[in-house]
Amino acid sequence: MSASSAFNDEKGGSSSVGEPEYGHDPASGGIFSSDYKRHDDLKEMLDSNKDSLKLEAMKRIVAMIARGKNASDLFPAVVKNVACKNIEVKKLVYVYLVRYAEEQQDLALLSISTFQRGLKDPNQLIRASALRVLSSIRVTIIVPIMMLAIKEAASDMSPYVRKTAAHAIPKLYSLDPEQKDQLIEVIEKLLADKTTLVAGSVVMAFEEVCPERIDLIHKNYRKLCNLLIDVEEWGQVVIINMLTRYARTQFLNPNINESLLEEGGSGDKTFYGSDEDEDEDEEEKEKKAEVAAMAKRKPYVMDPDHRLLLRNTKPLLQSRNAAVVMAVAQLYFHLAPKAEVGVIAKALVRLLRSHSEVQYVVLQNVATMSIKRRGMFEPYLKSFYIRSTDPTQIKVLKLEVLTNLANETNISTILREFQTYIKSMDKDFVAATIQAIGRCATNISEVRDTCLNGLVQLLSNRDELVVAESVVVIKKLLQMQPEKHSDIIKHMAKLTDNIQVPMARASILWLIGEYCEHVPKIAPDVLRKMAKSFTNEEDIVKLQIINLAAKLYLTNSKQTKLLTQYVLNLAKYDQNYDIRDRARFIRQLIVPTEKSGALSKYAKKLFLALKPAPVLESPFKDRDHFQLGSLSHLLNAKAGGYQELPDWPEAAPDPSVRNVEVPEWTKCSSREKRKEKKVEKPFYTDSEGESGPTESADSESDSATGSESSSGSEESGSGSESEESKEASESEEEEEEEEEEEKKKKKKDLKKPVQESESEQSSEEEERKHQRKSKPRKSESESESDEDEESESESSQSESEDSESEAEVKKKKKLAESKPPPKPVKKESKKEKKEMSLLDLDDFEPAPSPQVTPVNTFLSNSLVTDLEGLSLSDSVLSPATIAPSSTLKSYELLHRITGEGLSVEYCFSRQPFSPDANMVAVQMQFTNNASSDTKNLHIEDVKLQSGMRVKEFPEIELLPAGETATAVMGIDFCDSTQAANFQLCTHTRKFFVSIQPPVGELMRPVFLTENEFKKEQGQLMGMNEITEKLTLDVKCRNEHTIVQRVTTAANLSRVPCGSDKECSPPLPPPDHPVHRFAGRTVTSGSLVLVTVATKEEGAAQLTVNCEKMVIGTMLVKDILQALTQ
C-alpha cells in the first residue's frame, strides 16, 4: 500500500473529518482519487462470496487503521460480515468494529445481536469473546444490554468468563458512570471469587470503579493475600498496590516504637546551623518523645493479617517482572517494620541491570528511599557507580543515589569516584557531579574543606561549564563559613576576567558584594571592571552588578560613590525593564535625598542582612508522600486518578472485620475450602515447605506428597487440592457440580451450624472435613476403617485359593484393627441419616451392608506365596512370611454428593488384568445412593498422557437405587504416576474423575530367589540404587509388620531368605534379619528390588534398586512412610 506517500500527518489525527472529503473532491490529487477508488473495490471484495477476498479486503482495511488512515466510510460494508464464518475475517471485523462503532452508533447496533447470541454459546471461550467485544463497543445505547451481560457473566460457571466480566466493568463504567452502584454489586460478588484467574482482574475493576470502598476488601483480604502468588504477574501489581493502601488504613504503624531511632535526615540537619532548623528539630524530638511515650503505654503487636501480607508478598521480590518487584518494594517501604525493609534493596539493585527505562524508574524510587533509609542501600554502593556508557539521565540519577548514600565512612571512596566523573566528556553529567560534590560537602562537615579545595581547583579547568558550575557550588558552600575563605573569594574575583558563563559571573559578583568586608580592596576594583563592561553583560549579571554597587556604596561609599552612580545611570537606560526598575528602586533606597522616606535608614540592614546559607537538598526529599512506584511519585505531581496513601490510623480499626465466619468456610466449594485451609496453615507452621501455593501447578511432586500424605490429613488436603484446582479450572462441568455441591452444603450448614463450629477442634471432625474435600484420596484414618470393612467382607468371600492359615491371620489382624475409633462416628452419622439423606456425615458410614463387596482375591499374592511354599523348606515358611495382603486401600472416585447420589470407589485389586497384562487392574465399586435408578454407566472421553491406555469396563446398564455393583477396568499407566482422567457417564450426567495410582501399584510381584535377587541387585547399582536410613517404629520392628507394611505400600512379593544354599555370605544374625522384596513394573517390566536391612534399636536401612529412577525415588518415599509411621 502506498500509504506512506498518501498519508498525511496533519490529517491523521482528525481523520474522521478529513478523509470522506477525498471522495467528494476528485480534484484533490491522483493519490486521493485512487484511494477513493480503492475503497470502492474494497467494498466489492467485502460483498463477494469468497472468504479469501473478504479476508484480503479486511487485511487492507486493518492496515489502513494501523497507519492511522480513516476507513470509516466502509462501515456498512464491513459490519455486514460480522457473522462471517471465517474466524480471521471475523476477528478483523471485530477490530474494525471496536475502532469505529463510536462514530457510527446506529450501524453498530446491527451487530449487537450477533454478540448477544455469542453470550449464550455453550463454549466458554466464545461467551468470553462475545462479552469482550460487546463491552468494547462504546455505544451508549447498549449500556443496559452490557449491564445485563456483565451481571450474567459474573455468575458464569467458567472462571474465564467471570474474568472477562471483571474486565468489562471498567469499560462500562467509563461509558456510563451512572451505573456505578450496580457495578459495585457485581464487583462485590466477583471479589468473593476464589480463583486466581479472576482475582487480579476484579481488583483492577475495583481500583477503577470504587477504590474508596475499602470495606469491600475486608472479607476478601486474607484470600487475596494467599492467592497472590498464583495470580498472573500483572494482577499481582494491582493487588499489591491496592493492599498497600488497605493496610495503611487498617493496621498500626509498625515503626511506632522505633521512630526515635530516626535514620537519615536527622544527621543532615545539624549542619545547617540556622535557628529555625534547630527549633524544628526540637519540635520533632518532642513529637517523637510523645509518640514513644504513647508507644510505651501500648506495646505494639503486629496484626497477624499485617504479617500475612508481608510474608506473602516477599517471595514476589523474585519475580522476573520489574513492576511486580517494584510493587513489593513499595509495599515493604510503606508497611514493613524498619528492620525488615532491607530485603527489598537487593531486588531493586538487581533491576538496575534491566532496560534503561526500567533503570530510570527504579533509580528514581531508590533515590527517594535512600534518603529515608540510607543504611538499606549502603552495601550496594558500588552497584550505583557510573559507567561512561550510561545514558545521561541514568548517570544523574545514580549520582543522586550516591550522594544520598554518602556518609563519613564512605565519603572518601565516593569522592574518588566523583573525581573520575568530573573528567567525563558528558558535560551535563560533570555539572551534576559538581553539584553532588557540593551537597556532600554541606552534609558532611569533615570533608567540606577537601571538597572546597577540589572545587577551587576546578576553577582552573579549561571547560567553562565546569568552572561555572563550580563557582555556583562554591558560592553556596562559602555562604556557610565566609570568614574562613576570603582567599577563595579573592581567587574567584580574579576569575571575572576570564569566565563568561553568566550564571557564574553573577555568582561571583554576588559573593563579592555579600562579603565585601572580607575583600575590601578587591571589591571596588571588580566593580570598576564591571562598570566598564556593564552594557555587554547578560541580564542576570547586570542585576548582580547593581547589587554589588549598592552594597559597596553602603559599606565603602567613599571609593565607590561615583562608580555606583555611573552604574545606576547605565541601568536607567537599559533595555530590560527589570533592570531599569531595579536601578530606580536602589537609587531611591541608598542615595539619600530629601524625598526618600524612612526606608533609606534601613538600607544597610536590608542589603547586608545575614542571609541563611542555602540548603543543598535532594530533589527527592519528601517525595515519599507519594506512593512509591507510582506515576505521581515519578513526576512529583499528583496524576489524575492517584489514590493518596493514607496515614496510619491512630488506633487500629477492628481486625475482626476480616474474619470469615465459619459457615462461610463450609459454604464455599470444596476447592475453595482447601484454599482457605492453605491460608490458615502459615499461621501455625512456618515450615510449610512444599505444600505451598506454588505447588498448585504441580502434578508430579504432588502425587509424591499425596502418597506421603497419610501422615496428616491436612497435608493430604493441600496435596490433592492443587490437583483438584487444576481440574476444576479446566472443566466447566465440574464447576457446575461444585456449585451444586455448594448449595447442598449450604443447606446442611444451616441445619447444623453448631456441629460445624465444633469441628474446628475435634480431630475426628477434622478428618471428616478433609474427607469431604478430598476426592481422589482419603485420609489414612478413613481408609483404615475402610480396610476393616473390606477385610471383613473379603474374608467371607475369600476364594478357595487362599490357604486356611492365611485367612486366619487376617481374621486375627482384623479383630485387632477393627476395634478403635470409627464407632462413635458411625453412630452419630446414623442418627443424622434419619433426618436428612444427603448429610455429609453419611460419607463416613460404611456402605449399606448388603453391598456386593469387591472381589478382593489376591490371586497374584497368593500365587506367589504358593510358589514360595514350593521353594521353601517348611521350617522357613512361617505364617509371617506370607505377604499379608489383606490391606487394600480403597480410594474415592466420585463422592456421593458430587455424583448426585452415585458414589464410586476404586481400589487396585493387584490381580493381573486378564485382557492385557500390561495394565493395572482397577476395581471399581458403584453404589447408587439416590432414590432413582441409574442407567448406562460407562466411561467416555478418556484423557491420558501420551502412551497411557485404558481398557474400559463393560457398560453397566442398570444400577437400581440402593444397589451396588462392581466392575474392573484396566489402565496402563506407562509406569508413571500420572493420573488417568476420564468422564464417568450415566444416562443423565457426566462426571469428571481421575485415577492416580500410588507408585506401589505400578508393579506386580515376581518371584526371585535370594541369589537371583542379589545378582540382579548387583546389576542395578549406582544411580539405580537408592538407600535411605530410617528408624523403625516401635510397633513395626518384628518381621511380620515389616513385611506387611512393605507389601501394603507396594505390590511386591517377598524374597525368601536363607533358602538358597549357595548364598555365599553368612546369614545375618536372626535378630537383624534382612527382608527382600521383588517386583516388576507393570508396563515395562523393569525390576524393582527392595531391601530392608534391620539393625539394632530399630535402625534400618532401606534400599531400592530400580532401573526406573523416578519409580525408585517415589517408592522409597512411600515405603519409608509406611515403615516409619
Binding site: K50, V62, A66, G68, E88, K91, E102, L125, I126, R132, R138, T164, H167, K171, L197, E208, I229, D230, E232, W234, Q318, R320, N321, A323, V325, M326, K346, A347, H355, S356, V358, S383, Y385, T389, P391, Q393, K423, S424, S630, L631, L635, G640, Q643, P693, T694, S699, E700, S701, K726, S729, E730, Q945, S946, G947, C974, S976, Q978, M1023, I1026, V1110
Partner: protein, 471 residues
C-alpha cells in the same frame, strides 16, 4: 555447534560423575549433550498482561520521527499528542536520553526505545510507570519472538498480524491472551511455507481451534505437546559488569547470570534442576513456572517448563562477592599539545580465565571529538576508526597467552583545539566458552511425569557485560 563439539566428552564425563555421586536420590541422568545451538536470547517468550485501561493508545515511531503504526484501545487520541514527545526527543540529542515518562497537559506519555524504534504509549491516569514500561518491552519481545526481529520493516510487513497481536494483548487496556504459547495457538507466527500456502488457498494465520491454554492454571504451557526428539537444553550465560580503574584495580564487579532454556519435551514433563553450588545464588528472579517454595527450602529449581524458548532464571552476584576478572589491560593514551597528536598503546593479557580460552575479544573506545584519525598497528586482529562517531574498535579475536595482542600508534588530532583533558575509557567485549565465571554448575536435571528419556544439555558461556576500563 562445531566449536563446542570438542568439549562434548568432558561434559559427559563430569556429568556422569556427578550422577554417581548423587545417586542416592534417583534421577535420570543421561548423557549430557553439549548444546552448541544458536543463542536463544533473541527470541524471548512474550508476555501479556492485565491492565485496567493502563494503556490508552500506542504509537510506534521510527528513528526519523515518523509514526508508522497506531493502535487505540479506547477512543482515538489524536497523534498530535506525539508532538510533546518529538520536542523532548529533539532536546535529548541521544535517543537513549529521552525521558521515559513525559507529562503533557492532558496525557502522560511513557515510551521505550527498542531496536531503533520508540514504543510510545499514551496514559491518562495514574498507573505504575514500570508496569507500562514492562508491558511495552513485552510487546517488543513478542514481535521479536514472532518475526525474529523488532524493526520497522518487519512490523510494516506484518502489519495485520501485529495488529491482531496488539488486539489480543490488550482489550481496552485489558488482556485476553497472556502467554506466548497461548497466543501462538490463536495467531500463528508467519513462516514462509505457510504464507505461500495461504496465498494459494486463501488460508489465514488465525488458528482454527480455540485456545484452551489460557484456561489452564499453567498457562505458560500448551497442552498436548508432542515431539519426536525430546530435548531440553539450557544456556547458562554470565556477564561480567566491571569497572577497572587506571591502575588496574577493580572498582566494582558484578555478575549477571541468566539461564535460557530451550525445552522441547512432549506431554507435561516436570523438571528439577539442581546445582553443585546453589549458595552462590542469593539474588535470583524466576520465570513464573518455577516453584518458589522448593527453591526456598531445597535450593532446586522445580518447574513444568513452557514449550520452547524461555528464560528460566536470572541471577545477580553482587559486588560484595569476589568476582574473577578474566583479562587485564595495560594502556596508555596520551594527547600532546605540541604537534596536535596523541599516542595510544594497549596490551591485553589473560588474568583469571580458569584455564579457558578467551574468545571474541574486542575493545571499543569512544574517542574525544578532537581525534581526527588513528594510525595504529595491531599485532593481532583488526582495528577500525569511524571518524564520524569517533569510535575506535579493535577486534582481536582469540586471546593468545603466549603472544599478547597489542595495539599502538599515533592519533591525529584537530589542530587549534585544546587537547581533551580526559582519556576515553575502554569497553571490553569477550567471551569464554564452557565456563561460568561465578563457578556455578548445574549438577543434574531430572524429569518426572513422563516416561521417555530426553536429551539434555547445559552450555556455559561467560561474556563481558558492561566491562569498562578507565584510563
Amino acid at each position: 555447534m562445531n566449536q563446542s563439539q570438542g568439549f562434548f566428552k568432558d561434559i559427559q564425563i563430569s556429568c556422569l560423575v556427578v550422577g554417581w555421586l548423587l545417586s542416592n536420590t534417583a534421577s535420570i541422568i543421561l548423557s549430557f549433550r553439549v548444546w552448541g545451538g544458536q543463542s536463544m536470547t533473541d527470541s524471548a517468550p512474550s508476555w501479556f498482561f492485565y491492565s485496567a485501561e493502563m494503556i490508552h493508545s500506542l504509537f510506534l515511531i521510527n528513528h526519523l520521527g515518523d509514526i508508522f503504526l497506531e493502535k487505540h484501545w479506547k477512543s482515538v487520541i489524536s497523534r498530535s499528542v506525539c508532538d510533546y514527545f518529538f520536542e523532548a526527543r529533539e532536546k535529548a540529542v541521544d535517543p537513549e536520553n529521552v525521558p521515559p515518562v513525559l507529562q503533557t497537559p492532558h496525557h502522560y506519555l511513557i515510551s521505550i526505545y527498542r531496536g531503533k524504534l520508540f514504543f510510545l504509549s499514551v496514559i491518562q491516569t495514574e498507573v505504575p510507570p514500570l508496569f507500562v514500561i514492562e508491558f511495552l518491552h513485552r510487546v517488543a519481545d513478542t514481535f521479536q519472538d514472532y518475526f525474529g526481529e523488532c524493526s520497522e520493516s518487519v512490523i510494516t510487513d506484518n502489519l495485520v498480524i501485529v495488529y491482531e497481536l496488539l488486539e489480543e494483548m490488550l482489550d481496552n487496556g485489558f488482556p485476553l491472551a497472556t502467554e506466548s504459547n497461548v497466543l501462538k495457538e490463536m495467531i500463528r507466527p508467519p513462516n514462509i511455507l505457510r504464507s505461500v500456502v495461504n496465498t494459494l488457498t486463501g488460508g489465514s494465520n488465525v488458528g482454527e481451534t480455540l485456545p484452551q491454554g489460557q484456561l489452564s492454571n499453567i498457562p505458560w504451557r500448551r497442552a498436548g505437546v508432542k515431539y519426536a526428539n525430546n530435548e531440553a537444553y539450557f544456556d547458562v550465560t554470565e556477564e561480567i559488569d566491571a569497572i577497572v580503574d587506571k591502575s588496574g584495580t577493580t572498582v566494582s564487579a558484578e555478575i549477571q547470570g541468566v539461564i535460557e532454556a530451550c525445552v522441547k519435551l512432549s506431554g507435561m514433563p516436570d523438571l528439577t534442576m539442581s546445582f553443585m553450588n546453589p549458595r552462590l545464588l542469593d539474588d535470583v528472579s524466576f520465570h513464573p513456572c518455577v516453584r518458589f517454595r522448593r527453591w526456598e527450602s531445597e535450593r532446586v529449581l522445580s518447574f513444568i517448563p513452557p514449550d520452547g524458548n524461555f528464560t528460566l532464571m536470572t541471577y545477580h552476584i553482587s559486588s560484595q562477592n569476589l568476582v574473577a576478572i578474566p583479562v587485564y589491560v595495560k594502556q596508555s593514551i596520551n594527547f600532546f599539545e605540541a604537534g596536535s597528536c596523541g599516542r595510544l598503546d594497549i596490551t591485553i593479557g589473560p588474568k583469571q580465565t580458569m584455564g579457558k580460552t578467551v574468545e571474541d575479544l574486542k575493545v571499543t573506545i569512544h574517542m574525544p571529538k578532537a581525534v581526527l584519525n588513528a594510525n595504529l598497528t595491531a599485532t593481532q586482529g583488526n582495528y577500525t576508526y569511524d571518524c564520524t562517531t569517533k569510535m575506535l574498535v579493535w577486534d582481536i579475536g582469540k586471546l593468545n597467552p603466549q603472544k599478547l595482542p597489542n595495539l599502538r600508534g599515533s592519533l591525529s588530532m584537530q589542530t587549534g583545539v585544546p587537547n581533551p583533558e580526559e582519556n576515553p575509557s575502554l569497553n571490553i567485549d569477550l567471551k569464554i566458552q564452557q565456563l561460568a565465571i561465578s563457578g556455578l554448575k548445574v549438577s543434574r536435571l531430572d524429569m518426572y511425569g513422563e516416561k521417555y528419556k530426553p536429551f539434555k544439555g547445559v552450555k556455559y558461556v561467560t561474556k563481558a557485560g558492561k566491562f569498562q576500563v578507565r584510563t
